[in-house]
C-alpha cells in the first residue's frame, strides 16, 4: 500500500497514493483509525442524547409503576418481538456487508447485503407505522386533541391511576420509538450513497471505512431498540387488567 510519504520519497506526487487517502493522513490505516475514533465519539454523544429519554422513563416509571404497567399492556409485545427479530437480522446482514468489503468480495455481494439491511429497515418502519396508526385509532397518541382513549381502554385503567399518568407513558413511548425510527430513516438515507459506491466497486480490503462506520451506527440503533423493547413492550406483558 503506497503512502503519501512514500510517494513523495520516490519523487511521485502524493496523488499516486490510494485515491481515498486524504492528504493530511500518512496512510489509509491511520485514516481509518481516526475515522473509527470519530464515529465512536459520535456514538457516545448519541448515548447521552437517548440517555435523557431513558432517564425520564426511569423517573416516571418509578413514580407511577402501576400506570406504566397498565399502559404498557396496550402495546402488542408480539409485534414488538417480531420487529426486534427484524432489526437483529438487519444487524447481521450489515455485519456481513462489512465482512464482504473486508474480505474483498465482489461489489454485487456487498450491495446485496446492504440492500437486505435496507429492506429489513423498511420492514421495521412499516410495522412501526402500523402500530402508530393503531394507537391513533385507539386515541392513545399523547397530543392535545388526539389523546382520547376509547371506553374499553378507560375501563381497564386501574382505579388509583390517573389518565395523565397514562398519557405520560405514551408520550415517552412515542418520543423514544419516534427518535429511534428517525435514526433508522437517517440510516437509510446515509447508506444509499454507500450502496451506490459499493456498486461502483469503490470498497476493498484496503479501503472500506464508510461501510464500517455506517455499520457502527446501524448496530448502535439496534442496541437502543434492544432496551426499548423490554422497557416499553414487555413491561406489561403479564399484566391482567
Amino acid at each position: 500500500m503506497a503512502t503519501n510519504a512514500e510517494a513523495i520519497e520516490h519523487g511521485h506526487a502524493p496523488e499516486s497514493a490510494h485515491a481515498a487517502l486524504a492528504h493530511h493522513f500518512d496512510n489509509l490505516e491511520q485514516q481509518r483509525e481516526a475515522g473509527t475514533l470519530g464515529m465512536w465519539v459520535f456514538i457516545a454523544q448519541e448515548v447521552m442524547f437517548f440517555g435523557g429519554l431513558f432517564l425520564a422513563y426511569l423517573i416516571y416509571r418509578m413514580r407511577y409503576p402501576e400506570a406504566f404497567m397498565a399502559a404498557s399492556n396496550h402495546l402488542n409485545w408480539k409485534i414488538g418481538a417480531f420487529n426486534t427479530t427484524v432489526l437483529i437480522t438487519s444487524s447481521l446482514t450489515m455485519a456481513l456487508a462489512v465482512w464482504a468489503t473486508q474480505a474483498g468480495r465482489a461489489p454485487k455481494v456487498q450491495v446485496a447485503l446492504m440492500l437486505a439491511t435496507v429492506l429489513l429497515g423498511f420492514t421495521f418502519l412499516g410495522v412501526k407505522a402500523y402500530e402508530y396508526h393503531e394507537k391513533y385509532v385507539d386515541g392513545l397518541v399523547p397530543i392535545a386533541g388526539w389523546f382520547n382513549p376509547n371506553h374499553e381502554i378507560l375501563s381497564h385503567i386501574p382505579a388509583n391511576v390517573s389518565l395523565g399518568q397514562y398519557q405520560m407513558f405514551f408520550w415517552l413511548y412515542f418520543a423514544m420509538t419516534g427518535l429511534h425510527a428517525l435514526h433508522m430513516i437517517v440510516g437509510v438515507l446515509i447508506i444509499t450513497p454507500i450502496i451506490y459506491w459499493a456498486w461502483r466497486g469503490r470498497y476493498s480490503p484496503e479501503y472500506h471505512a464508510p461501510v464500517e462506520n455506517f455499520g457502527l451506527y446501524w448496530h448502535f440503533v439496534d442496541i437502543i431498540w434492544i432496551f426499548l423493547f423490554p422497557l416499553l413492550y414487555l413491561l406489561g406483558a403479564h399484566f391482567k387488567p
Binding site: 475514533l37 465512536w40 427479530t85 444487524s91 473486508q102
Partner: protein, 100 residues
C-alpha cells in the same frame, strides 16, 4: 492489513444468541415474577448489548483508545442516571412533597 476480519461463523453465532435471548426475555416477561421481571429483562438486554458491542461493532478487536471511549460512554451515562436519581429519590425526605 492490520484490520482484524471477524469470521462469518462468529456473526452467525452472535445472531443465534441474540435471537435466543429475545425469545427468553419474551418468555420470562409473560411470567409474573414481581420485581424480578425487571431484573431479568435488564440483565438480558445488557447481555444482548454486550454481544452487539463486542462482536458486531468489533470492540473486542479494537484498540485501547476505542475501549476508553466506550468505557467513558457508560461512565457518563451512569453519572446522568445515578446522580439524577439521588435527587429524585431523596425528595420528600423533608416533609410534604413541595418540590415534586
Amino acid at each position: 492489513m492490520s484490520v482484524h476480519i471477524v469470521p462469518r461463523k462468529t456473526y452467525y453465532m452472535v445472531f443465534g444468541a441474540l435471537i435466543f435471548f429475545t425469545a427468553l426475555t419474551v418468555f420470562v416477561a409473560n411470567v409474573p415474577l414481581g420485581k424480578f421481571n425487571d431484573v431479568v429483562a435488564i440483565t438480558i438486554a445488557v447481555t444482548k448489548m454486550m454481544l452487539v458491542l463486542l462482536f458486531f461493532m468489533h470492540v473486542r478487536y479494537s484498540s485501547r483508545l476505542i475501549w476508553v471511549i466506550v468505557a467513558s460512554m457508560f461512565f457518563w451515562l451512569l453519572i446522568l442516571l445515578l446522580l439524577t436519581l439521588t435527587d429524585y429519590s431523596s425528595r420528600g425526605w423533608f416533609g410534604p412533597n413541595v418540590i415534586t
